[in-house]
Symmetry: C2
Subunit: 226 residues, 2 copies
Amino acid sequence: MLELVPQAYTRVDEAFDCLQTAIVKGDLIPGEKIGEVELCSRFHLTRGPLREALGRLESRGLLIRRPHAGVKVVSVSADELIELYRIRELMEGLAARQAAERMTDAEIAALRATLDTHETMIEQAQGQAYYQAEGDYDFHHRIATGSRNTKLTQMLLGDLYYMVRMYRYRLSTSSGRPHMALGEHRNIVDAIASRDGELAEFLMKRHIHAARKNIEQKIRDGELTI
Amino acid sequence: MLELVPQAYTRVDEAFDCLQTAIVKGDLIPGEKIGEVELCSRFHLTRGPLREALGRLESRGLLIRRPHAGVKVVSVSADELIELYRIRELMEGLAARQAAERMTDAEIAALRATLDTHETMIEQAQGQAYYQAEGDYDFHHRIATGSRNTKLTQMLLGDLYYMVRMYRYRLSTSSGRPHMALGEHRNIVDAIASRDGELAEFLMKRHIHAARKNIEQKIRDGELTI
DNA sequence: ATCACACGGATTGTCAACAATCCTTCAGTA
DNA sequence: TACTGAAGGATTGTTGACAATCCGTGTGAT
């Protein structure tokens, strides 16, 4: 009855995924002007689907398109990265609060399981920031959807996380403090499990605030150049 | 030298504007399934630009597109409207804080002028919610851009305000408390002018919180049915 | 030597036809 | 009568060619 179809995967989606990962992983260099035909040959696409995908990427803020002039991957400043974390602090705080009120017990259990695999990843892949970052991404992703707040989820997954992931790859560093972050994650889940929305919001805000301070420090020390 | 070109207006932009206002003003009924060819004939477009515009509208959350099945204007629940205001409360609070730190004196003067015209609008167009809503929109728009926070501006102008305007037209009501709202706006501008970011954030959050409570009350009273 | 202007090449925007997919309708059967 | 199944029509997805616009180069003048 409620079939939930695999949601036909079209060329536009294909193009979007290709370009998105290319941007996030840094295969497409920021600031570089790049033509549509070159993109087509490089990713084996035709211009129709490509153009629609470019439009979607533009509304997500990953690239800029000037009419008759071509596309450019966004080049981002250190300030803008900081601003991004300021926004995350607020929105993910709200997400955590609502997740505490609305997540099912099954979802919370799955969230805990995620943290366990994350822990083993940290131990095994020592220093491999990539996998750590993906685990972190997964954690925040689950809380966003768990908030059951349509628009909030859409904005977090559709706008902010792409950006954050892009920075992560470029700077080739996770938050740089994996063990501490994991502990903070566990505290947040505990707050959610005990249905304490206020505490969950507080902890999440502090968690992201700490991540921001960490980045600001690295920038001051010259470890991160953008 | 720094010419600031009128930024070539292409058919895609035309299509996007047409559809966006049609959705916001309610010419396109939510939930109604509508074909591409019909949209083309109705707005004098061809399918190429139309499809790109549809993609942009989809990422902005104004309509939903299922592959091979057509497009549908989003139908929105009362709960989702409330959620929207929760998000606004946080994000516009941050915008107000940063606007207080970063707006130029000229921008602040222009903001004050906006409020003056808004006041005359309220007196003249008594009860004409439409113009009141536009004035209110203008006010929040200026503060968003004044924050100088690229991503924040993009999310407010690109995601939330379209939604809010859509609801306003559909419910054919502004906040319903124009005089009080105007007073609150003036207080916010005063805080910005005295460069008190903390106060500006507080006042903005309270302003939107009040608007939300107002809407919740109306929904409870059955004045608003969505 | 520097600046302004025009021309050509290249690139993007637009269009109309073709192919792939889905939804509805209409039988047929339990 | 209600439900399953398939076929047809309609709609969307895709493609390639055409038209409009911009950028870089080269020439000329100041």
